[in-house]
């Protein structure tokens, strides 16, 4: 077995991993190793040929590929060691990675710090408990995207999409452009799951109807999908009897949520947050295992790739600090509490005495006008007015100033005008 020793090892070369590897080099780490299972860098961005990426970071609209390429070019010039076609099988709590590839066999990688950037996976039809037949033609949006955008094949002629998350919306437009008739998008929740701009650009402009509070209850068709049954749902998201309708189609596309891929993290003993399904992180995106960091969608499912890259950079700076001995190995933490209207906040805790942090949160419900507050021990750390908040859109902000030993409470209060 081949043994390798590096300063920082990054698992996964999607947007988070690329940014992390690059930032680790920039911050002074000598040997940075980037491990990627695929034959190319870029992760899922490779199949994101639509635009809308990079508005925050680059100030222009780019396709997913272009966004990734901007990082890939820098990574290639930066001296980051890249191992493609290499799959990490195990990460230990002692920061040893076992990874294999065709050319090198099994690698035992000893890393000063490990950055987890494995991304996420899609929920499936089974996981959302759709009953009925199990024919060909039931696919997740990401799988359809891969078939259509990377392999050049169409898995259906008439599609129904369940889930109005961004991938579902993007695929509604993409399939339409390829000549697939998109019958409708159904969303079990009373509000859309994706960004408003995607509703407008991907559905409205193509006259694709969006049915809220409606779900697919059953798939019909023994060999290939012939139709799906859809039904309105009540407040508890249960189908309302008598509202069922049959919609003819030969493809059901599921865009019903993403789950961080934390199997390697779990193996390393990393504590997970049941709410985000990602690791419990601190202000430098270190997990509960010293020297093991996480970023991107394995940490928490982000909405914008710009935030994914940012999280990679935060983790990388933390990792470089860690190997330099700048981070306390057994830090004292204060929790970050999700208060009024806040679904979750990442990171979930901050080190005593740290000099602020970048926080990411999602709201519980749409709010027209609100005030974001961070309080700690009766002290107001910050206050900020916000408009047009919705659960699909993450809110990122910097909390400045030294953190004491009292919990930090993050709340969003709705502003109602007379």
């Amino acid at each position: 077995m081949k043994r390798v020793s590096v300063d920082v090892a990054v698992v996964g070369a999607g947007p988070a991993g690329l940014a992390a590897a690059l930032e680790a080099r920039r911050s002074g780490a000598k040997r940075v190793l980037l491990i990627e299972r695929d034959a190319e860098l870029g992760g899922i961005l490779q199949q994101c040929i639509h635009d809308g990426f990079g508005l925050h970071r680059f100030g222009r609209r780019m396709s997913g590929n272009q966004y990734a390429q901007a990082f890939i070019d820098e990574v290639e010039a930066s001296g980051v060691e890249v191992r493609l076609g290499t799959m990490a099988l195990e990460v230990t709590g002692a920061r040893v990675i076992y990874a294999c590839s065709k050319s090198e066999g099994m690698l035992e990688i000893e890393a000063g710090a490990v950055i987890l950037a494995m991304g996420c996976r899609e929920r499936t039809a089974n996981q959302v408990l759709i009953c009925g037949d199990r024919p060909a033609g039931v696919l997740t949006a990401g799988a359809v995207q891969r078939y259509v955008n990377m392999e050049g094949y169409l898995p259906g002629s008439r599609a129904v999409i369940l889930g109005s998350g961004d991938i579902g919306l993007i695929m509604a437009r993409r399939m339409t452009l390829e000549g697939i008739e998109v019958k409708a998008v159904y969303e079990v929740m009373p509000a859309p799951g994706g960004l408003t701009r995607n509703i407008v650009q991907c559905l409205d402009e193509f006259n694709i109807p969006l049915h809220l509070s409606t779900t697919v209850t059953r798939v019909n068709g023994r060999k290939r999908v012939e139709s799906v049954a859809v039904a309105r749902v009540d407040k508890n998201l249960k189908p309302i009897p008598g509202t069922e309708e049959t919609v003819g189609c030969d493809l059901l596309v599921l865009a019903v949520g993403l789950i961080p891929e934390n199997e390697l993290s779990r193996g390393a003993g990393v504590a997970l947050d049941p709410r985000t399904k990602g690791p419990v992180l601190d202000d430098v995106f270190m997990t509960s295992v010293p020297g093991v960091f996480a970023c991107g969608n394995v940490a928490v499912v982000f909405d914008l790739v710009d935030y994914v890259s940012q999280s990679g950079e935060i983790a990388a700076r933390g990792a470089v600090d860690f190997i330099a001995g700048g981070l306390c190995r057994q830090p004292q933490y204060v929790p970050v509490e999700a208060g009024e209207n806040v679904n979750f906040v990442v990171p979930q805790r901050l080190r005593h005495g740290c000099a602020g942090a970048r926080l990411f949160l999602r709201v519980k419900k749409p709010l027209r006008e609100a005030v974001l507050t961070c309080e700690s021990g009766g002290r107001m750390l910050m206050q900020k007015s916000l408009r047009h908040l919705a659960p699909p859109e993450m809110i990122a902000f910097d909390l400045a100033g030294r953190i004491g030993d009292a919990p930090v409470a993050v709340s969003i209060r709705e502003v109602t005008r007379e």
Binding site: Y98, C100, M106, E151, L154, S157, D250, R266
Partner: protein, 585 residues
């Protein structure tokens, strides 16, 4: 009892139905007429089968408002006859489920030409595939039945099968326990039945011994509350499709041929003896036809002129949970509650299964049990899923489901196996109504059929001869996920294809997929690859690996990607190329 008397009794018991009955010399009761619904139709059949003098029931009742779809055998038969004779064999086995594969493998030791014809595109596609994999000890089957005998025998023979065929068999043992003293009677009843049936190692044990046998009981605090427990050390676990595959591969190594996508549409009978089958692909002539057709065994038997039983489909829904949801017990351990006992009493044949696990470590829930009119209806319903999920403990959560599916059990009305040389058509052997515990009984079923066929051959002056070159051994192919890091390293160095992980959830390599595609009974669809390698069986359900498996299959099998199917003809995953790329295909 006479037919008239039987009809009178049944009409009285089911006043909504209008029934006629006919009883032949063999004791086969044929019921005709109309009844109120499917549930009643099944009840009538079951009641009739319990009447004295009735050996089995042919249920030709129709149920009001229920249309029962039938296969268009005439068209398939015409197609097959037009193709003419495509093969000649000594033995044709109809059906490649656990029974058909088991019989094929047993008979492969003789100098006979054997052909297995199967309607689906792979082995194990019927009841075998959708089975919970329990190798039942034989305590739960009514004493004195063929089922009881073959279950106990089959369970014992599994070690030999597992050793020779190298599939995973885990003798985990099973425990049923009660925490209320009056319920102990249910366990004592099971214990006596187990003893009568000859179940090996069965014991009634106290709390202390129960906790020794199942450490999980001490951990969760239930142990000290145990009043009595029934310990069945011979309970085993397998992946049922892997057993069928191992049997099929060993049979193929020994010269047995498999003909897939070949529905049998006719049985050729000449001078009272069987002479072959007409499949949709052509005629296969043979001296013996062994009917292991599962749900269709009754229809195949009728084609051979022997209408002796009716198979009705009993659907079961199974849910598979994520490996992250670790089973609480090492054994199959279940607390027997009043609810469970009542359920067992009310639905003596149909209560379905509870919570167990697969040899790979997934918790498995179910199956449920529901009588349905359409043998091909493998759809799931929320109610059946709820039934399957409802038989676990508090540790079971819907959030952990990664897959749920249904299978249909081929039940007859006598609720026993039917294994015999047909008294009507010589050379035609029925292996019918093989449902639970058919998987556990399979080795004994295969042996019994071997006996029937070889005895007949000897009696008719053409005794079977053992092949000198028969090889009973089949080795499992490398399973990367079960190896140590050093072994994995060595394997990749030997063949770099093992260094590429295709399915990351289940850690399946390209090398394993290539091995499967080059195996003695090669897979023809994405799902067939899944059953052989586990690629796509994990939590993402093929979201990542399906495009990659599809690509490997297209490359290896020399097919276009639009020709690769999910699960046989008509289930192509990809329909056409993108706009502007049509020229490329």
């Amino acid at each position: 009892m006479e037919a008239k008397e039987i009809a009178r009794k049944l009409n009285k018991a089911f006043p909504d139905a209008a029934l006629e009955a006919e009883l032949d010399a063999r004791g086969i009761l044929t019921i005709r007429g109309e009844c109120a619904g499917w549930e009643e139709l099944v009840k009538i059949g079951r009641r009739a089968a319990k009447l004295p003098g009735v050996k089995n029931v042919v249920n030709e009742l129709s149920a009001k408002g229920v249309s029962v779809p039938r296969k268009d055998y005439a068209a398939l038969r015409a197609k097959g006859e037009a193709a003419g004779t495509i093969d000649e064999a000594d033995v044709v086995i109809v059906g490649a489920g656990i029974s058909g594969c088991g019989v094929a493998r047993e008979l492969a030791k003789y100098r006979w030409k054997i052909v297995v014809v199967e309607a689906a595109d792979d082995v194990a596609m019927g009841a075998t595939k959708a089975n919970n994999g329990n190798i039942h000890p034989g305590h739960a089957v009514k004493s004195g039945t063929l089922k009881a005998k073959l279950n106990v025998e089959g369970n014992r023979l599994y070690d030999k099968w597992a050793e020779e065929l190298d599939f995973e068999l885990q003798r985990c043992g099973a425990m049923g326990f009660v925490t209320s003293r009056p319920l102990g009677a249910a366990l004592k009843y099971s214990y006596r039945q187990a003893k009568r049936n000859g179940v090996a190692g069965v014991e009634l044990v106290d709390a202390e011994r129960a906790m020794e046998l199942e450490p999980g009981l001490a951990k969760n605090g239930l142990g000290p509350r145990i009043k009595l427990a029934l310990w069945l050390p011979s309970m085993g676990l397998v992946e049922p499709y892997q057993v069928a595959l191992a049997l099929a591969e060993n049979a193929a190594q020994n010269g047995v041929r498999f003909l897939f996508n070949a529905t049998v549409a006719g049985v050729i009978v000449e001078n009272g003896a069987v002479a072959g089958v007409v499949t949709e692909k052509g005629v296969v002539r043979a001296r013996y036809v062994v009917n292991c057709a599962g749900l269709y065994a009754d229809e195949i038997s009728a084609m051979a002129g022997d209408k002796g039983y009716t198979i009705h489909a009993r659907r079961g829904v199974i849910a598979i949970l994520d490996k992250a949801a670790q089973p609480e017990y090492r054994t199959l351990c279940e607390r027997i509650t009043f609810r469970e006992v009542r359920r067992a009493l009310e639905h003596s044949e149909t209560k379905g299964g509870g919570m167990c696990r697969t040899p790979e470590g997934n918790v498995l829930m179910g199956p449920s049990a529901l009588e349905i009119p359409d043998k091909e209806d493998l759809s799931t319903t929320p109610e059946e899923l709820q039934y399957a999920m409802g038989r676990g403990d508090d540790t079971v959560s819907y959030a952990n489901i990664i897959r749920f599916f249904a299978g249909n059990r081929p039940a007859d009305y006598k609720e026993d196996f039917i294994i015999e040389m047909s008294p009507v058509t010589d050379g035609f052997v029925n292996v019918g109504a093989i449902q639970s515990p058919g998987l556990a009984a399979a080795p004994a079923v295969a042996r019994m059929v071997e006996g029937i066929v070889t005895e007949h051959a000897a009696k008719t002056g053409r005794p079977a001869e053992i092949r000198a070159d028969w090889n009973p051994l089949r080795r499992r192919r490398p399973e990367f996920r079960h190896m140590s890091r050093a072994e994995q390293d060595a394997l990749i160095r030997e063949n770099p294809a093992y260094g590429k992980i295709v399915c990351r959830c289940e850690c399946v390599t390209e090398g394993e997929i290539l091995d499967a595609l080059r195996s003695p009974v090669p897979p023809g669809s994405v799902d067939a690859v899944k059953r052989r390698t586990r690629a796509g069986m994990g939590r993402c359900q093929g979201g990542f690996c399906q495009p990659r498996v599809l690509e490997i299959m297209a490359r290896e099998l020399g097919r276009k990607r639009t020709e690769v199917t999910l699960k046989g003809e008509g289930t192509e995953v990809l329909l056409r190329r993108n706009r502007g790329e049509e020229a490329g295909e």
